[in-house]
């Protein structure tokens, strides 16, 4: 699976099959702070994603 982290503009490749919530847990990302998309479609925490997917994680946190 390709995971593109929007905030850092970095891509990670990892083997993963499971729910969005599990992916975020594995990446140690708080779901409150991000939006997850697959092919520009927004995913909820319970949706299943697999190795073939290209996932984009957008951080919603800003400000100072």
């Amino acid at each position: 699976m390709k995971v593109f982290i929007e905030q850092t503009k970095k891509e990670k490749k990892l083997a993963f099959n499971g729910k969005v919530s599990s992916l975020l847990n594995r990446l140690e990302i708080n779901p409150v702070t991000v939006i997850v998309t697959r092919n520009k479609v927004v995913l909820t925490q319970d949706q299943h994603i697999s190795d073939k997917d290209e996932i984009r994680i957008i951080s919603v946190v800003s400000g100072g």
């Binding site: 702070t33 939006i35 927004v42 909820t44 925490q45 949706q47 919603v60 946190v61 800003s62």
Partner: protein
């Protein structure tokens, strides 16, 4: 997960809504905030403070749609590698939507950029916030109100920061229509996104295809606010709805806080005549240090 209002696929976990119902939820939320607090009355000319980030461009987009009489003001503090990129988003949005955008620079107003002013010992967000508020007030004097993109997360953080620092004098000044003292030199501020979570604002931007910046200011991670923000987000994850409860608790207390603060004397800065609490306003004191 299916939308709680129809059988379409949901785009958000809480409230559980599909794209169509979520868009309506956001727009209804802002309409209600505008009406309930009298934020944008018919005929009022509103300056929207924009940066090119999601909050300010969602706000500008919705105020243009719901109120109409809006222009945009951007403050370029001079944060190298960051602000010039976000301002491109603001310029593109305003050009595409035929909205007047005026950009003002710290360097022109104060004689220095934020980058050149901040040293290792300084707290950049504190300096930036004070000078931005001053600049916005100065350049928005011909408008009836200034709208800012503060969302529920920003406001929950501010409440908690003021409590944890026992910053008593700042505590009553929150809410969608902040400020306890009226003076003709103050342009009233409004915060129409007050009851929307940061994630909801960001999702609205993504779903409407707004070309906005999601970059975080490089100075933000140095701030006390960032510490409180991360703490609150962790708490929100384990206790969904916590930020909303904090805001609600604050707003229910606010009338009592306002009445206890209404006797605070208002002075005018001896240097620039801007209303302030002491002899000099925050901006003039910072400039004197420089």
């Amino acid at each position: 997960m299916l939308c709680s209002k129809c059988s379409s696929l949901a785009v958000i976990d809480g409230p559980v809504l599909c794209k169509g119902h979520f868009m309506k939820y956001v727009e209804d939320n802002i309409k209600h905030t505008l009406a309930a607090y009298g934020l944008a009355k018919k005929g009022e000319k509103i300056a929207v403070a924009v940066s090119g980030g999601k909050d300010s461009l969602v706000l500008l987009s919705l105020l243009k749609k719901l109120h109409g009489n809006v222009e945009a003001i951007a403050i370029d503090e001079g944060i190298s590698g960051y602000r010039e990129k976000t301002l491109i988003k603001a310029k593109n949005f305003c050009r595409k939507n035929h909205i007047m955008l005026r950009i003002y620079k710290f360097k022109d107003l104060f004689g220095f950029s934020l980058d050149s002013r901040v040293t290792e010992k300084d707290k950049p967000c504190s300096i930036c916030g004070t000078l931005r508020r001053y600049a916005l007030n100065k350049y928005a004097h011909s408008f009836d109100k200034v709208a800012t993109g503060h969302n529920m997360d920003d406001e929950a953080q501010a409440i908690l920061m003021n409590i944890l620092r026992f910053n008593w004098s700042a505590i009553p000044q929150g809410g969608p229509s902040p400020g306890i003292v009226r003076d003709e030199a103050f342009v009233p501020r409004i915060k129409p996104l007050y009851f929307l979570a940061e994630k909801e604002v960001a999702l609205y931007a993504v779903l409407t295809g707004l070309d906005v910046s999601f970059a975080e200011c490089p100075n933000a991670k140095l701030s006390y606010r960032a510490y409180v923000r991360d703490m609150l987000n962790e708490y929100e994850f384990k206790n969904p709805g916590a930020k909303k409860k904090l805001i609600g608790f604050y707003l229910s207390l606010q009338p009592k806080l306002n009445s206890s603060s209404s006797s605070l004397p208002l002075k005018h800065c001896l240097s620039c005549n801007m209303p302030c609490k002491g002899d000099y306003c925050g901006a003039c004191m910072l400039m004197a240090v420089n």
